[in-house]
């Protein structure tokens, strides 16, 4: 009985799939971390009083959100690097760049919405005390806005995590790619894909549950 379970095609695929899961998580975290930095810059640019800065931010957001991430990653991996710069990057780097660029556009809107939602009187109180625009942003607006960004950022984490599965097209060894590699050899397609799905859910469901709780606690 125990042998039967241990020998089952479900369990057998796990060591290979775990390798993929590690990369999936790595791409998601690095991409979101960098995407948050870029997204915060674009999001604040979107709120700038300078028309040029605002326009650049809007164009960035619209272009990225208006094109499929699959096209973006192919662009980065083949189009931009090989054709344009003649430089080749590995597929993992291309994947992280793609998540970064893509998540940044959505995070920019999250940042903008959160900053915008802070009452006008907060900034006025800061400025009336003689704080510079930058200090007002840094010490008064941003800490309050950041709290409101947490739930939508968690949501973006789930979206980006799922997006990484598209990178199997450039042969990044993430979860879905490893699954495909595995069933190409064993022909256990159903079993393998079921395990792949379960591994995704193992991350996405607890994240969503935790976020809902956090949302209630932060009362935002």
């Amino acid at each position: 009985m125990i042998d039967a379970i241990l020998e089952s095609p479900y369990i057998n695929s796990l060591p290979v799939l775990f390798e993929g899961l590690k990369l999936t998580v790595l791409i998601t975290f690095s991409g979101l971390f960098l995407g948050f930095i870029l997204g915060a810059i674009v999001g604040i640019g979107r709120l700038s009083k300078k028309k040029l800065v605002r326009s650049i931010s809007i164009v960035y957001i619209e272009v990225v959100r208006g094109t499929p991430i699959l096209v973006q990653v192919l662009f980065i991996y083949y189009g931009l690097t090989e054709d344009l710069i003649g430089l080749s990057i590995n597929s993992l780097t291309a994947a992280i760049i793609a998540i970064t660029i893509n998540a940044a556009a959505y995070i920019a809107e999250i940042v903008r919405g959160a900053v915008y939602s802070i009452e006008k009187g907060q900034g006025e109180a800061g400025r009336s005390l003689g704080l510079t625009e930058n200090d007002t942003m840094r010490y008064i607006i941003w800490p309050q806005a950041f709290k409101r960004m947490i739930p939508p950022l968690g949501n973006q984490f789930v979206i980006s995590l799922k997006d990484t599965s598209l990178f199997s097209v450039i042969a990044v060894g993430e979860l879905l790619y490893m699954g495909k590699q595995y069933y190409n050899v064993t022909y256990e397609i159903f079993e393998t894909l079921l395990m792949v799905s379960i591994l995704y859910l193992l991350i996405t469901i607890p994240t969503s549950v935790y976020l809902r709780r956090l949302e209630r606690k932060l009362d935002v």
Binding site: G121, Q122, E124, A125, R127, S128, L129, G130, L131, I140
Partner: protein, 240 residues
């Protein structure tokens, strides 16, 4: 100390201030009254450039606010402002609300700023609230903290925009008391208020505004008991 010359302010096509001239001397307490929408808040907000000035001049201690070379942040630090809705920073404790600007604008150390903050909290009677967050305070307490926060920058003049009108009636007195103490210490104050008792008792002068212009100004007793302008008469008859 403050001189306003032909101040105009428009929001798009809407002209809200139509040429204001005023002078406020050191230690003077000036109360501004007038119907809703007459431009009282806008006038006050122009005095520390929370609204930019469309045309005209505001001089504070001789420095022209509309001169691009004026250091606006430095000037603002000298003009304290108290808002109708307090605008305390909810993510900071009462003491941190007060010490933020002295530390970031004046570069005081935390302990220097804490000393100032605690002294001001004692002054407004809220020493025991130093480490509480604003949400746990009553409206009257919040406004007293907001006054202490503005005072921490050691301003030369304090602007109050209806500081008691968001408060439950039983909490108005404690805030007015703090303002009276301040006036008696010789603070220069411009107060937009509907508290006629305060204006009568503490005001050196009352300005009546309507439709973006100063319609009448003078000694509080004269304005309240013997207004000359028919608009002042009709406004006062409605509220007294």
């Amino acid at each position: 100390m403050i001189t306003v010359k032909d101040l105009h302010k428009s929001f798009g096509d809407l002209e809200v201030l139509k040429g204001i001239n005023a002078d406020v001397k050191e230690k003077e307490v000036v109360c501004v009254i007038g119907p809703s929408g007459s431009g009282k808040s806008t006038f006050l907000r122009c005095l520390n450039l929370l609204e930019d000035i469309t045309s005209g001049h505001v001089y504070i201690n001789g420095e022209d606010l509309s001169d691009p070379n004026t250091n606006i942040n430095k000037l603002r630090a000298e003009v304290g402002m108290v808002f109708q809705h307090f605008n305390l920073f909810p993510h900071k404790t009462v003491l941190e609300n007060i010490t933020l600007a002295p530390m970031k604008v004046k570069g005081l150390s935390k302990s220097e700023a804490d000393d100032i903050g605690l002294a001001l909290l004692a002054k407004v009677g809220l020493s025991e609230k130093a480490n509480d967050y604003p949400e746990s305070l009553s409206g009257g307490q919040k406004q007293r903290v907001a006054i202490a926060r503005a005072l921490a920058m050691n301003p030369k003049v304090m602007l109050f925009d209806e500081p008691t009108s968001a408060l439950d009636p039983e909490l108005v007195g404690e805030v007015l008391q703090v303002m009276k103490d301040l006036a008696e210490e010789g603070m220069t104050m411009i107060v937009v208020t509907h508290e006629m008792g305060f204006a009568r008792e503490m005001g050196d002068r009352v300005i009546f505004m309507d439709e973006g212009a100063i319609q009448e100004e003078g000694d509080p007793n004269q304005i309240f008991s013997n207004p000359q302008n028919p608009r002042t008469q009709s406004f006062l008859s409605k509220i007294l």
